[in-house]
Amino acid sequence: MKIAVQSEAFDLNAEVAALYQANPKVGAVASFLGLVRDINEGQGVSTLSLEHYPGMTEKALAEIVADAGRRWEVLDATVIHRVGTLRPTEPIVLVAVASGHRGDAFAACEFIMDFLKTQAPFWKKEATPEGERWVDARESDDHAAARWRV
């Protein structure tokens, strides 16, 4: 398991290969890339700044990944979240999950993203033509996380 919070870009090839190259039991890797969009809630976005709570972030992400591993077969997983200032089309987050079969890989990957969105202490501030604004939490994200409760 790899959890990283960093300002630098990451290499998707290297991160995904690290999940399967040494383990021939891996039949499926589901991955998710979140990117900065140039528009949000109708306003143009020139840059996005990400702040986090060092220490708690890594702990929260590790707990979410461990929780996914209790629900599905997770052979390995990587979560990388960037902080600092990013521009449209730049990757913000990578979640990649390796499993024997695709159903587990997809479910665990989406579960981790849904809880990352609602539980991991990151905050986004957008620079728009009207000035800077903190991004509001979305109710749809709470709903997405809530659907995993059984």
């Binding site: 979140g34 990400l50 702040e51 986090h52 709570y53 220490g55 708690m56 702990k59 929260a60 979240h81 913000i92 987050v93 993203m113 990352l116 969105k117 609602t118 539980q119 991991a120 202490p121 990151f122 905050w123 986004k124 501030k125 903190w134 991004v135 509001d136 939490a137 979305r138």
Partner: protein, 85 residues
């Protein structure tokens, strides 16, 4: 009791501070008490931490509910709902 208080994101900006280490009065035993104590500062403190405002709290880096007990040297963080990913 002394605790370490951390503020993040919009609350850090509005409170104009990212952390403080106050000596709390004996009457403060829970997170709810701490929030009351902070609201008594008035101004942005009363406004931002008012009932019905959306914020979250963590004690020692775990998200917690308001009836959680506080202990000496706890790290208590107060912040807006998270928006990562």
């Amino acid at each position: 009791m002394k605790v370490r208080l951390l503020y993040f994101a919009r609350l850090r900006e509005v409170f104009a501070t990212g952390q403080e280490t106050p000596e709390l009065p004996e009457s403060v035993a829970t997170l709810a008490d701490l929030l009351d104590w902070l609201r008594q500062r008035g101004g942005v403190w009363a406004e931002e931490l008012a009932a019905g405002r959306a914020y979250r709290a963590a004690i020692n880096q775990d998200l917690i509910e308001q009836d959680a007990l506080l202990h000496e040297n706890d790290e208590v963080a107060i912040f807006p709902p998270v928006t990562g990913g």
